[in-house]
Amino acid sequence: MKNLDSVFAAYLIGWGIFFVFYLTVARRTSALRADIERLKAAVNRGK
């Protein structure tokens, strides 16, 4: 099985890039959601 390691590396790195991107979007979304809740509470306190 010549070049199996190269094929394996290409697919693994490719999927890794997609996975990391999805993870960063999910993290940014949850951090922003918490931020919005905090801001909403601050607005309600100010009213």
């Binding site: 190269s6 290409a10 697919y11 790195i13 890039i17 997609f18 940014r28 979304t29 922003l32 607005v43």
Partner: protein, 225 residues
Amino acid sequence: MKKDLTLGAIAMLLVGASAYCNFYVAPNERTMGLIQRIFYFHAACGWTMFTAFFICFCSNIGYVLRREGRWDALGVSGAEVGLVFNSVVLVTGPIWAHPVWGIWWTWDARLTSTFVLWLLYVAYLLLRTLIEEPERRALLSALFGIFAFLDVPLVYGSIRWWRTQHPQPVIMGGPGSGLDPLMRKVFFFSSLAMHALMILLLVARYGLEKMRGEAEIIHRELEAV
């Protein structure tokens, strides 16, 4: 939420099935052997990258014409997702090239224009971080995005117009070019799976951008109180 889960499940199913087809359904290529199987992933990511940048381009035009925030949100989402696919193309290409050409990289027209495309969209995203005022940021990045898209036809045409180290097109390449019918089916299925993944990522990224807009409005509200 249920919609997101359904979309995620469909995308994962397609991606899994396409990976299976890439390895077990597509026939072995006579001269390159196993390494040719990178093509189904690499070229499908390339086509999907074009679609994502085209979505960004249309959204940029939409923003310039209508000045609505949703076009800006879709534009930046398309750019970021396109950049991810572009990165995969730039990483998987050299992994294929090294055993086949004996070199990782060469500055031929296709490779150089693809790398320039990556740089242009990195610049697009960097530009957005430099401008604080939302309307100004949206307009300037939309104009830059329209300019950046000019490189896409260049990337597409580079292997048709110039002699390159990169292989000549096997899909829509004209007379004398072509792909084994089963390889062709596997490639199109792989492209479909990559497009499903792109939609999943785009929806997630668009949701984040919409929330960011909401946060900016609350921020302004808080400053007014």
